[in-house]
Symmetry: C2
Subunit: 360 residues, 2 copies
């Protein structure tokens, strides 16, 4: 629906419907108003955007220039939407879906998604075997790089009843999933962890090596996280680990930058420098090169320093560089979530400084 030569949909629809393309003067005025200011559009572009099949209705585009179209042809209703995903989504949600609900039958499919992390699809299916017969819903598994979504769905004609049945099924499943379940409302893991940090008033500092800023990027997708995220140091070189995080140079020489000891020193270092309640660190080999027999590509240590000590996990993640980074970042965020679920860092309930470590 755009103004360029490969945008042929309006022409195709006009041809199919046997209508001409005509200039919509009202739309011309509206587009002129919108494209005043610092990014003006040329008259040709506006003219191309405002040529519509005669007699069709327009559907407002809240995020872009190309309006959607709505017309009837031989008893069918045709909706025409732009192809840019965020524009298509916005017009569909605001303009088309409500219309379809009025037009369509009363039967619809209602879904509820349970998001899990840290467990394989096949292991989830085994866990759910015992409760499966009692569930009067369809069950779908969607394995993602970051975890597995379980989609519950059913066909219904009553919104409230459908929600009730899905919630009842979720209630039966939730105890089986335990702490692998992190959201029943389609939230991302970083959003859940961000909300938990904010609700608890916990501050955090991050020290990233192999994840390269991804943990910071994910946490800062969450509006309001500035109240919790004090500092994230992406210490990609050994020198920056020493200078910006206070990691002992000799420790790096003795153990290697990718080691449990350095992960711990990074987590403790950023916690101290940022003066935060939690210090989170990653160090690993994202590949494709840099691996060895003893320290293969995918080896990642994650550290979490807190008032009671420092926990370090050793992991081997599969996949390419991008996948290993993402899996490491997700695991790190999940470690913070588990720590909060264990209730060990409640503000005002500090157990005092322990020098002990629960490294494992």
């Amino acid at each position: 629906l755009g103004p360029t030569e490969d945008d042929l949909t309006k022409e195709a629809v006009a041809l199919a419907a046997g209508r001409e393309l005509v200039l919509d003067e009202g739309l011309v005025q509206e587009l002129r108003r919108r494209f005043r200011g610092h990014r003006p559009a040329s008259p040709e572009v506006i003219r191309d955007l405002a040529r519509l099949p005669r007699g069709c209705r327009t559907i407002a585009n809240p995020v872009g220039a190309a309006v959607g179209l709505d017309l009837e042809l031989e008893g069918s209703r045709i909706f025409v939407l732009p192809g840019v995903p965020r524009e298509m989504e916005a017009i569909f949600t605001q303009g088309v879906e409500p219309m379809l609900r009025r037009l369509g039958s009363r039967e619809f499919t209602k879904t509820l998604v349970l998001r899990t992390v840290g467990i394989r699809e096949s292991d989830l299916a085994l866990k759910l075997r015992a409760v499966r017969p009692a569930l009067e819903v369809r069950l779908g598994y969607l394995p993602l790089t970051t975890g597995v979504d379980i989609r519950l769905s059913l066909d219904a004609s009553d919104e409230g009843e459908a929600s009730g049945r899905l919630e009842a099924a979720a209630e039966r499943i939730a105890p089986v999933l335990g702490r692998h379940l992190y959201s029943r409302r389609g939230q991302e893991l970083h959003a859940v962890v961000g909300s938990m940090l904010m609700a608890r008033g916990l501050t955090i500092g991050v020290a990233e090596s192999c994840t390269g800023g991804l943990i910071g990027h994910l946490l800062t997708q969450v509006p309001g996280i500035s109240a919790c995220l004090e500092l994230d140091v992406v210490a990609y070189s050994n020198r920056s680990k020493v200078e910006s995080l206070g990691v002992d140079e000799n420790l790096i020489s003795a153990q290697g930058a990718v080691s449990s000891q350095v992960a711990q020193a990074m987590a403790r270092g950023v916690r101290e420098r940022a003066c935060t309640r939690l210090g989170l660190s990653t160090t690993g080999i994202a590949g494709p090169s840099g691996g060895s027999a003893g320290k293969p590509v995918g080896l990642v240590y994650v550290g979490l320093a807190h008032s009671g000590g420092c926990r370090v996990t050793e992991n081997i993640f599969g996949g390419d560089r991008e996948t290993i980074k993402l899996r490491a970042a997700i695991h790190a965020l999940d470690l913070v979530r588990h720590h909060m679920l264990e209730g060990r860092d409640q503000v005002g309930k500090d157990k005092g400084l322990h020098s002990g470590s629960d490294q494992r």
Copy 2:
């Protein structure tokens, strides 16, 4: 094709083809070998994965457990692939596409993508008007959040001739696009910037506020970037801007953290602390809250400190929090690319330290 109850494709194919599902003992052995070690699969899972319609061929899955299937039905060839995108892609590329090339007609569609940044789709189309008639290819525009891709395509039966014609069209278009064109081979902007930094032996330090680690994340997607990226400080709080980057507290009070002056101080600060040739910074308002009449949501300052001074750009990016962060990070990387294209920071050709600033 997976082992869970919602994976019904093998059953459906077996039904359609009138064949039974039988256990492939060879596949059982192979899966047992693969799932030995630290993540063993249960016998049930292996059995489910190894039940295949009788007489079909398997297509190896290089990245997952579910093999692809290949069978004939009434003179048609059916390929069955798993739905996990990276598995589907890997099997298709390695196992199916070569087979299709042998099976199919000699006619195919060949494409070449020119990737641009910093220019709108409609402005691109206007620029290309003059050369358009001479291009004997189809032209498609794909607007992304990060820029606009121009897709050149044609139908052909000879690989070499098709490539030659596409390259000739690209040669005509490239001068019109100028520095907006950053890749002819489908590379991402961060990969191009990373390669340029490495080729020039330039080191860089990054100081991120509103982008929250995204610049570091993008740069560290590039294998080998550790030779150039020394340090990335995500200084989300004012205190961390002062303590970790040496920004003057009074400057923040007087100008606000989101200001041209603070962007400059952050870029200079990280360049100095990381001892790098370049210092890149971002400070802005990603929203949804925190905006004001004078400093609206989407206002982002980007600073680039180099041996000749410091450049700062003022930008207003549209979209939600995620989009603003991404647009700011892309613009920052593009500023580094432009700086390198201008040849102002060649190693060994340092023009000496100027205290002047080309702030604009």
